[in-house]
Amino acid sequence: MAEPIYTVASDSETTGEDRSAPIFPEIAVGIDIGTSQCSIAFWNGSQVELLKNTRNQKIMRSYVTFKDDTPSGGVINELSHEYDMLSGAAIFNMKRLIGRVDTDPVVHASKSLPFLVQTLDIGVRPFVAALVNNVWRSTTPEEVLAIFLVELKMMAEHQLKRPIRNVVLTIPVSFSRFQLTRVERACAMAGLQVRLMPEPTAVALLYAQQQQQQAVHENMGSGSEKIALIFNMGAGYCDVAVSATGGGVSQIKALAGSPIGGEDLLQNTMKYLLPNVESIFSHRGIDEIRRMGLLRVATQDAIHKLSFQSSVQIDVNLGNGSKLCKVLSREEFEMVNSEVFEKCKNLVNQCLHDARVGIDDLSDVVVVGGCSNIPKIRSLLMQKSKKKALYEGMNPLEAAVSGAALEGAVASGIADPFGSLDLLSIQATPLAIGIRADGNSFIPIIPKNTTMPARKELVFTTVKDNQSEALIVVYEGEETRAEENHLLGYFKIIGIPPAPKGLPEITICMDIDSSNMLRVLAGARLPGAHHPATPFMEVKMPTVDDGHGWCAEALHGKYGAAMDLVSLQKKS
């Protein structure tokens, strides 16, 4: 047998690379910071429980108010009236902005929010500012997120009487790995170690636990598998998952997500009610912000009412003698938002298709999130799934955070005597990861919906005779053109042995480890050679920082196709 191996602890376990250490020494809490609402839940020893703030709220508003010196968030801070939130001093919807550059359409759509979102359209982060004592004070989405996290952490520490260091935080499916680094940055600012979990997969885990408990209760074996369609739509994002559940194991078969949500419904409706809304508010004076806020609150209120009644009377005084009086019907609301609903339907179709699951295979359809009460959303999912009823077993606003708390308990290694934590969530990649090759194409190496941990490789070759260097540009996404995907990073392979084009074998391997860390490995050799020509390259991704929006263009401008690669067709 082999000699025992003397081991030295890996550097990555002891340095600040916290996400390579997913093992929680104490039970991690679950946190859901949505675009408009946030909540925190924990495993209390027998079940998941949501914490309440001093105002007895389990679901708190996701905003931060900047006043004088200290910003305060919606967890602790109490607003005398919702309109206070619209004075220009309150920053919200930051989940839609985090990790996005100022050329992103989602950032542009956020410019109608009642505070300052400025863009220069050069691929840098947008400028975000709150109005404090008539001064625009700059902030960042990371800072705002960190403030929520600190407030939630303090609240939990106070109530649970223990320090909170580890959290499972839910994230939208469509977040790129670059966006995840920004979320991790916010967590680090708040002094938290984090495990990130896509929202619908957290819901899927809660579903798996409920099914498991039911199976135990009914004394059934855990052999039967249930396929669930999970639809989660909040203010900022719409996410869909298909999971196969059995014996407490939730296996994610497919994911689909898009930054569409209640905020789009709200903005479309505002535009419908007041067609020149953008020009009215373009100056961003205190008065405009107030009027924009008034319209926003009135529209939001109307949309809520339309979930339970067929029409609603809107009466709002916008100041300056202008007044909006209108009856809005549910049909009108559905008409002005038909594009959003169409996108929702497409996401469901795509997810079912990717999961290779038929309508008849679906055991349950779970609809959660802030938009789950909207009649059109419910009817759309019932139609699509040919079901007469949707799954009723969970609170739509608490499902994601509860699933995150379960994951926190499971990952912390807690055992439950009744088997309530005999659970496992098997995750899949929400987006494909690959490189630019074959001209300007995106060539996925790890396809979308690959079970994680994962490791895949592809072989490429040179485009020029005696090409000694190759540029590896790593992207994440689903688009065929490379630059339409999220840029994660780039590096150069050097020392490719001189050879006619098409001969050298450049192997690109991508590895996602158990802590969701992505590494890209690259090496070049000539066919038949046993040793790589030069040392391997190993690059942790993403490497890009803020303001990377134009890096790809800059690289292209500088090098053209001189360092390109093409896929090598395997001779079978």
């Binding site: 047998m1 082999a2 191996i5 003397y6 081991t7 030295v8 602890a9 890996s10 550097d11 990555s12 997913p22 093992i23 052999g223 598998e225 196969a244 059995g246 014996g247 407490g248 194991v249 296996q251 499971v410 990952a411 005999d422 496992l424 969530s425 098997i426 079970t451 941990p453 994962a454 490791r455 895949k456 490789e457 072989v459 074998e505 192997t507 391997c509 590895d511 480890d513 158990s514 802590s515 590494r519 490995l521 090496g523 050799r525 050679a529 046993h530 040793h531 790589p532 040392p535 391997f536 190993e538 395997k570 001779k571 079978s572």
Partner: protein, 162 residues
């Protein structure tokens, strides 16, 4: 059963990959799985090699087929394949594996998942079953088809363990 690859073929070991507990996992023979839902830690043999966790240079346990990976007979039903996968995932997935074998468990889990994804798909399974019957393709040719030596073993989809 120590693998005999030449250390020269190894890519240089980055400093932070100082050898850790890269326990190599063995599974119990198929019949052992039928009894209980969980395979205890006794199923794991002692480590036999050290390598980069992701550059899976260490030698595979010599499974004869994907069915062996899941501990199932070749005539297993799809239901049995699914249950075996879930049962093994509950033991080998890095989220639930013991702290000292997070890295090797990722490899084990990928192997189990690869076996499951082939065998749970009727078409892929039929295809695989035909190949299994012939069972004559030399390992060397599979190796050559893929990248350089260091990487070949990681291509689960095409480079199975036989």
């Amino acid at each position: 059963m120590i693998s005999a690859f030449s250390p020269l073929t190894l890519p240089p070991l980055p400093a932070r990959f100082s050898p850790r507990e890269f326990t190599h996992v063995r599974f119990r023979p198929p019949q052992a799985f039928s009894a209980t839902a969980t395979a205890s830690s006794t199923a794991y043999a002692t480590r036999e090699n050290t390598a980069l966790p992701y550059l899976n240079l260490q030698r595979m346990p010599s499974y004869t087929s994907l069915y062996d990976v899941l501990g199932l007979p070749t005539e297993a039903s799809f239901q049995e394949i699914k249950s075996a996968y879930r049962r093994l995932a509950r033991v080998s997935h890095p989220d639930v594996a013991a702290i000292d074998r997070k890295d090797s468990s990722a490899n084990d889990f990928m192997k189990i998942h690869a076996a499951y994804s082939t065998l749970s798909d009727p078409e892929k399974r039929a295809d695989y079953d035909r190949k299994l019957l012939r069972r004559c393709r030399p390992v060397a040719s599979v190796r050559m088809a893929s990248g350089f030596t260091g990487y070949t073993r990681r291509n689960w989809e095409t480079d199975q363990c036989w």
